[in-house]
């Protein structure tokens, strides 16, 4: 069999074990609750028979490992239970809120890459210059700022005071439901439906939260780009390329950049994962009907079904993106083939 199959198999097995542990941790978190799940469903006034019935229904009388097994079965079939605060099944809710977050995260990462990579490269090539210091300081501010606070400041300045962008939410009230949801992503759907007004409204609403999330992505990506570039620029093959008669920037683009591409792609995958974390609070501030806001709403309502499902999903996505990162690295670097 090809050389890479056993290695891939090992990695997948390793990830499977991690996922199992994820499930265990989530299960454990669910059981740590100080509240009684039965009472949460039937209320405090119910009678003993009802209590016993629901208790058995929830499987709480079975031994712990059986409960865990049932839990895994439920998770695998996406049976997350009902969300008490929305009244729907959690799985349905998640399907509804996911595209909003994906849209926000994707626009944010585009901003992060579009600004982060050039900044990082310039900072590395002109190391020690004013540009380098400024770029690094801007980056430093990026990961020292609470992004939900930046969101608030952004809303106050750009929405309330200047009126340059749309406010909280994805669309102004009058545009809601004007467009057929095809992908769930308003920017695409509005163009598909040929409604430019809706597109611009959606754009004005996404630009501020995406910029703020993009800023922290940019900070991370530019720092890593700079670090990778510096590592390459110190190598002998860079000097050799200049000996051949290439100019500094020719060497940077043709040689150094191609050598960091693989590492950059893995960093971008990780940055996307971090965006999901950042989205939790940013969506709350911007009333963005996505995954993050669903999680915090569930938290505030004390709805453990929703919260645990969200935590689990994020964990799985995180693990998945890390795995993807690893696989991409291995597939693209000619030295590891």
């Amino acid at each position: 069999m090809p050389r890479w199959v056993p290695a891939l198999g090992k990695q997948v097995a390793s990830v499977a074990v991690t996922l199992l542990g994820l499930l265990a941790l989530t299960f454990f978190m669910g059981r740590m609750l100080p509240i009684d799940p039965v009472i949460a469903i039937i209320g405090e006034q119910a009678e003993k028979e009802t209590y016993d019935m629901v208790y058995a229904q929830l499987g709480l009388d079975k031994p712990l490992y059986v409960q865990f097994g049932l839990f895994i079965r439920d998770m695998m079939t996406l049976e997350f239970g009902d969300a008490l605060f929305t009244g729907n099944k959690v799985a349905d809710d998640l399907a509804r809120v996911f595209p909003a977050t994906i849209e926000l995260a994707t626009v944010s990462i585009i901003i992060g890459i579009g600004l982060g990579v050039p900044f990082g490269m310039l900072a590395a090539v002109y190391r020690g210059s004013l540009l380098d210091h400024v770029a690094r300081f801007i980056g430093l501010l990026g990961y020292s700022s609470p992004n939900f606070w930046l969101g608030l400041m952004g809303l106050i300045l750009f929405y309330a005071t200047l009126g340059w962008v749309g406010g909280p939410g994805r669309l102004d009230v009058m545009f809601i439901d004007m467009v057929e949801p095809v992908t769930g992503m308003l920017l695409i759907d509005s163009l598909l439906a040929g409604e430019p007004e809706v597109f611009w409204d959606a754009f004005s609403h996404i630009v501020l939260p995406a910029s703020i999330l993009g800023y922290s992505s940019m900070a991370y990506i530019s720092r890593m780009t700079r670090s990778f570039m510096l590592e390459q620029l110190g190598q002998e093959y860079i000097v050799a390329a200049r000996v051949k008669g290439l100019s500094r920037w020719q060497v940077v683009w043709r040689h150094a950049f191609r050598n960091i591409l693989v590492q950059l792609i893995t960093v971008i995958a990780l940055a996307y994962a971090f965006l999901l974390e950042g989205a939790v609070l940013t969506e709350t501030v911007f009333a963005w009907p996505g995954f993050g806001r669903y999680l915090t709403s569930g938290l505030l309502a004390g709805d453990m079904n929703a919260v645990l499902a969200c935590v689990l999903i994020i964990g799985i996505i995180f693990v998945g993106l890390n795995l993807l990162s690893d696989l991409l690295y291995r597939a693209l670097d000619p030295r590891t083939r």
Binding site: V243, K244, G245, L246, P334, R335
Partner: protein, 283 residues
């Protein structure tokens, strides 16, 4: 080849290379002067003697925190000391070239070897892709690589040490320079492979009538390979002589080096150890 033998290719007068480090100013090359014609000149010195930095200074590839000053740095008709970076782009590779120590590090790891050699072909020759490939193949054959078509598509980590060095020679001679600087070209190679590479180098240099500056720490090697030898110590040139007359060296450092070389058939029980005189630091 039509140049009268007296006109040197390269004239260096009073070359200084200094480095700004956080602690202090490091004076790596201190007033070095020499000339190179279409001949093989060796520069020998230990680590830190400034020999590598001399080579880099000629190509104006000193690291960014370095300062290069020279009364004269003349290559044929070009005044290198006053040349701008744009001017140097036409000099590097095409007039002066340099092969480096370790092919594993001096070649781009994610680019195929053939492509890297082709990169050295000057753009203004306006060759087609097929013509460029032919030139690369011809060069690979000139460095005695037996299966050029296969090697052309290999990555640097798939190529052995000796072959990698030959690839580097091919790459650096591709644009047909007049002067070649070889910075420790065989130091990273197995002893068995060294002679092969040196033979190829010798052949190419002689056939093309190139000037060669051979930088090394190996006195024996340089003495047998080169026509003239320059010995460097602490940034100065302390000795300059014809290779065949090395045994008559006058400077105590050279004499000390010669004495400490092991010789087959010598009857000394102990190898002599070099006694460093601090006076040598001043050249």
């Amino acid at each position: 080849m039509n140049q009268p033998p007296e006109t040197p290719l390269l004239q260096v007068e009073d070359l200084h290379v200094r480095f700004r480090t956080p602690q202090r100013m490091v004076h790596a090359v201190r007033g070095v002067s020499f000339q190179v014609g279409r001949e093989k000149v060796g520069i020998v010195g230990e680590s830190g003697s400034g020999k590598s930095q001399t080579g880099r200074a000629i190509m104006k590839l000193t690291p960014p925190n370095g300062i290069v000053e020279a009364r004269r740095l003349q290559f044929q008709e070009l005044d290198l000391a006053r040349a701008s970076e744009r001017d140097m782009l036409k000099v590097r590779g095409r007039r002066i070239s340099m092969i480096m120590q370790d092919p594993k590090h001096a070649l781009d790891p994610v680019m195929r070897v053939g492509a890297q050699i082709a990169e050295a072909i000057p753009d203004d020759l306006r060759l087609s892709k097929a013509e460029r490939r032919d030139k690369v193949m011809a060069m690979l054959e000139a460095v005695h690589i037996r299966n050029p078509a296969r090697v052309h598509d290999l990555y640097p980590h798939e190529v052995s040490g000796g072959m990698g060095q030959r690839v580097m020679i091919a790459m650096m001679l591709m644009a047909d320079p007049d002067l070649l600087i070889a910075d420790e070209p065989t130091s990273a190679l197995d002893v068995t492979v060294r002679q092969q590479v040196l033979t190829i180098l010798d052949d190419l240099v002689t056939r093309r009538g190139l000037g060669l500056i051979f930088i090394s720490h190996d006195l024996n090697l340089v003495a047998t390979f080169c026509d003239r030898v320059l010995i460097m110590y602490a940034g100065h040139i302390v000795e300059e002589c014809v290779a065949s007359e090395l045994a008559q060296a006058k400077h105590p450092y050279t004499q000390g080096l010669l004495a400490s070389l092991p010789r087959i058939g010598s009857r000394n029980a102990k190898l002599a150890v070099l006694n460093r005189d601090p006076a040598w630091l001043n050249g």
